[in-house]
Symmetry: C2
Subunit: 272 residues, 2 copies
Amino acid sequence: MTTKDLVAQIEKKKSFLCIGLDVDLNKIPKHLLNDEDPIFAFNKAIIDATYHLSVAYKPNTAFYEAYGLKGWKSLEKTIRYLNENYPEIFTIADAKRGDIGNTSTMYAKAFFEDLAFDSVTVAPYMGKDSIEPFLAFEKKHTILLALTSNQGAFDFQVKISEGKEIYKTVLETSKQWVNSQNLMYVVGATKAEYFKEIRKIVPTSFLLVPGVGAQGGSLHDVCKFGMAENIGLLVNSSRGIIYASQEHDFAQAAAQAASNLQSQMEVILNDR
Amino acid sequence: MTTKDLVAQIEKKKSFLCIGLDVDLNKIPKHLLNDEDPIFAFNKAIIDATYHLSVAYKPNTAFYEAYGLKGWKSLEKTIRYLNENYPEIFTIADAKRGDIGNTSTMYAKAFFEDLAFDSVTVAPYMGKDSIEPFLAFEKKHTILLALTSNQGAFDFQVKISEGKEIYKTVLETSKQWVNSQNLMYVVGATKAEYFKEIRKIVPTSFLLVPGVGAQGGSLHDVCKFGMAENIGLLVNSSRGIIYASQEHDFAQAAAQAASNLQSQMEVILNDR
């Protein structure tokens, strides 16, 4: 999918919502546990109930790998279901991968070719040759961790080197990489005041923003400081939507929670 | 496995060799491609031919994920084969994972519980709460990227902040984390002169050292500057051993390549 297609979808749906499919078998409705593939059954119901309100889905691979072969199968079924039934949706493998060159190519093949995701999240620690193999794939997007939404972000990401925080060095350096036009960035919503600075470095890049909802970030502040001319934001909510109810009405409850966020986004988009 | 068990195995085998199982179907002997599971068939032959010369095996997850569900199954069969037939071997999932707390717990379950690896490699960018969930597992080891063997290591890892390189801050900070005794570190062999400085910060921690062989690092220099009282080194070779021959004699050729490294290690261990 191209960035243009993504922006068109956002304008059409009046939404820049991404729904995180972080499925924990201890948290899904009990009646689904009798299903042959409870994780996929859950995802399918959530997707069918919310696809008109969101533009992206983001399964976090950890939640699938934890269930071994069965979990990987559920991930495969989920991405195939999305690609076959909702081809306009932007899909994100939240995998936070990254390794030396030839190994990153294998990860890129796993997520871009075998599973056919539109994008994958990657970690910057190993530098240029760990990320460029991902960037080489056409119409695919590589979402680089810049400033994350957790407490540990303060351990290394904001250390000052050469007069600026490491996460700013990550943003600036990554712009020099081959095919950097295929980069997006993860920036946590819990640090909305940082968006102003970040937009000076990457004025138009799409930012994937976790941390609204369960982690306490403000949608209003993120948009105030982070929205670009081409919108440039994908705001993710996981637990706040998918676990809105743990009863038989879980899909409707998820749709209601997604609708609450989408409505706020619609107001923000109309007020531009 | 405890660190004590690992050291005992090293002393017994006179080897601190780790063999990287980075299996690319384009590089294995053609006759294996007729096997129902070529990756596992290849791994099994390599392991059976080399287990007496090495103390650890390290499948890199990228090479399995690239083949989707089938690849994940090959990974599962490989680790089960190792655990059932060679329980003394130290097993490393080279996965370079890391995410916010509850998600890292899922990754830890995937590798420590579902697949039953002894250890997993993790990336430091997201800080303390992304790593401590791994450290909580008893008799399991978490191998943190410190200074990697690739060119991109110079992009961020050696940036100077507060008077020292970021990778040193990673080492120092990680020592403060809960259950930090379960940490090991990745340090690339291509930067042997750095080991002296690293040993000042982590004098006894085990270091997993890639980069000897194909990437050009010197075993002698690594040991000169990096060996600790409890040895504290696992030196990895992947391509140099597993692709020593691409013909029918691939397993014997791998054993010969492993034996060459083990012999050098035996001399070094005897000369201590």
